[in-house]
Amino acid sequence: MTKRKKRIIGNIEIGIGTLICAFFAVLFLAPIILTITNSFMSAQEISANYGTVFATTQTGGRVFISKTVTLKFIPDMVSFTQYINVLLKSPEYLLKFWNSVIYVVPIVVFQLFVAALASYGFARYEGRVRSIIFFFYVILMLMPYQVTLVPNFLVSNWLHLTGTRWAIWLPGIFSPFAVYLLTKFIRKIPYSVIEAAQIDGASEWQIFSRVCMPLCKGGIFSIAILIFIDYWNMVEQPLILLADDELHPLSVFLSRINAGEISLAFAVAVIYMVPPLLMFLYGEDYLVEGITYQGGIKG
């Protein structure tokens, strides 16, 4: 093959690759962009576009009816009425949003705190018993909610936590996910660093708080993002553990939006995805690092 021929083939390959990526990029972004642009439509426009869709649903009558369905990327007229309605006139959405915050923030902070201590314990001295315990943590981490919710439900009943926020908080805080991942990060710290600290006379606590944790800062960010999305998205736990709708996070509430309020739904959906998207914009590299570290037995 001549050089020129090779170059042409290479260019064709790059062209095809770019096309594939562009195709997937459109598919991946379209739902997000559509949600955002639709949130700037007025109630009339939403009902004109999707009337037939939301007139009949599993949750009962929704009000708007129109014969045709049109998918529109750009609103006829940009309107902030939906946002104004959500923010000023329908406090229940903001309350549910606040519920989500109330669940997620303590879980992220305290799961990381518990995990920081535990992963140091796992990474620093490894014995057979500790390997076995770690092994159990990994298996536990892999269990889907169908399995873990049963024990969670039992404990919540024994401790009379069912129906309170603690039923969500406590299992979340002690979830082994962060322990597993942070242990991997700490184990990447070269042993010589710790040894040097020891020789300098650092105590165990100093090695933990002054050497290991600062070195794992990136890892802690990554894990915080991963825990955040997981619990921001939560659906299964509140359905089982919280009978009272008042305490439900927005993720569950959004799916049961009331009849006649469907035009608000897009605005609520956008407000709901703002915090994780902001995190993503600032922390994409951390997210990637966190996922990469899950390679090998995430389990």
Binding site: G10, E13, I14, G17, T18, I20, C21, A25, L27, F28, L29, P31, I32, N38, Y50, V53, T57, V69, L71, A118, Y120, G121, R124, Y125, G127, S131, I133, M143, Y145, Q146, V150, P151, N152, L154, W158, F174, P176, K184, R187, Y191, V235, E236, V252, L254, S255, F266, A269, V270, Y272, M273, L277, F280, V288, I291, Q294, G295, G296, I297, K298, G299
Partner: protein
């Protein structure tokens, strides 16, 4: 890092620490103190109640507490609703997992080539990970409703309307949602694995006249084999969690073909049938444990094969 390698490395470290320092024993107990908050929590919220779950699964009811052997398991296993839920969940996994592996591998391979706007594309592919399912479900409903956009397109090309969410086709929108959410995650894992293929190996192969396809098939795929298995099993495990998507799309009582294992569990929770609940949870945990050991063994085997 692979777990087997970790264990080996830690064994080495252990020897090292024991030789070099006399404070080992004290530090050992001290490090147990670091573990204790997590251990207490995990024992309280997961392990101890799970033992009770095992107990519940083996007795006829919590009050009489008569040992009944496997009869709870048998009655769950023969339960029509459980069977239907298990079939649906397995069918979903059988469709979604291969697609999740192949498509994300394709994306990772393409992303490894010299295409422009690489980091932009990476951002685009990752963004669904961060978007809550509840937020995009509205769009899915607009698309796949009986009077929705997709049917509008179907009409234009002259095909018949399909009630996507309320028919045997209902798995398709859910598979698409699952892929939309998970491809980016898998792609990152594959990209990390691809970048760890030694460059000199590929150079030598190219010098000796191997085609790109040969390099991919004979070298890269071999290095990727453990990651492929890992991604496949992780996708399988996350496909067990697809209830979230189904619930948000179709609610508590979806069409029959979308009735997943978690729906079965929710209904059993509502009827407070602890025996069934426990037996079902144990059956599912056994599936996960088997998958875990497959992964664990495979990492051993493949790890040795590739790393020598």
């Amino acid at each position: 890092m692979k777990i087997a390698a970790l264990l080996a490395e830690n064994a080495r470290k252990k020897v090292h620490t024991e030789k070099s320092s006399r404070m080992t024993r004290k530090a050992r107990y001290l490090s147990l103190a670091y573990l204790s908050p997590s251990l207490i929590g995990v024992l309280t919220f997961f392990v101890v109640p799970f033992m009770v779950v095992v107990y519940y699964a083996l007795v006829n009811n919590p009050v009489q507490a008569e040992f009944v052997g496997l009869s709870n398991f048998i009655s769950v296993w023969n339960n029509r609703a459980f069977q239907r839920a298990a079939e649906n969940s397995l069918l979903f996994s059988a469709i979604a997992v291969p697609l999740a592996v192949v498509l994300s591998l394709l994306l990772a391979v393409v992303m490894e080539s010299k295409i422009p706007f690489k980091s932009r594309f990476r951002t685009f592919f990752l963004s669904p990970i961060m978007v809550p399912i509840a937020s995009v479900v509205l769009i899915w409903q607009v698309l796949f409703h009986f009077n929705g956009i997709v049917n509008e397109w179907m009409r234009m090309i002259g095909a018949g309307k399909i009630d996507w969410l309320k028919s045997e086709y209902a798995l398709i929108p859910v598979v698409l949602l699952f892929l939309w959410k998970n491809l980016g995650y898998n792609m990152i894992l594959f990209m990390a694995a691809l970048s760890s293929v030694p460059g000199d190996l590929i150079e030598v192969a190219a010098l000796e006249g191997a085609t790109k396809w040969q390099i991919f098939y004979k070298i890269k795929l071999r290095y990727l084999s453990s990651t492929i298995l890992f991604v496949a099993i992780m996708s399988l495990i996350s496909s067990f969690k697809v209830f979230r998507e189904v619930y948000l799309l179709a609610g508590d009582y979806p069409y029959d073909s979308l009735y997943m294992l978690q729906h079965y569990m929710n209904n059993t929770f509502n009827s407070l049938d602890y025996q069934k609940l426990s037996a079902a949870a144990i059956i599912m945990s056994l599936v996960i444990i088997v998958l875990f050991f497959v992964m664990y063994k495979a990492e051993d085997i493949y790890g040795k094969d590739v790393e020598g």
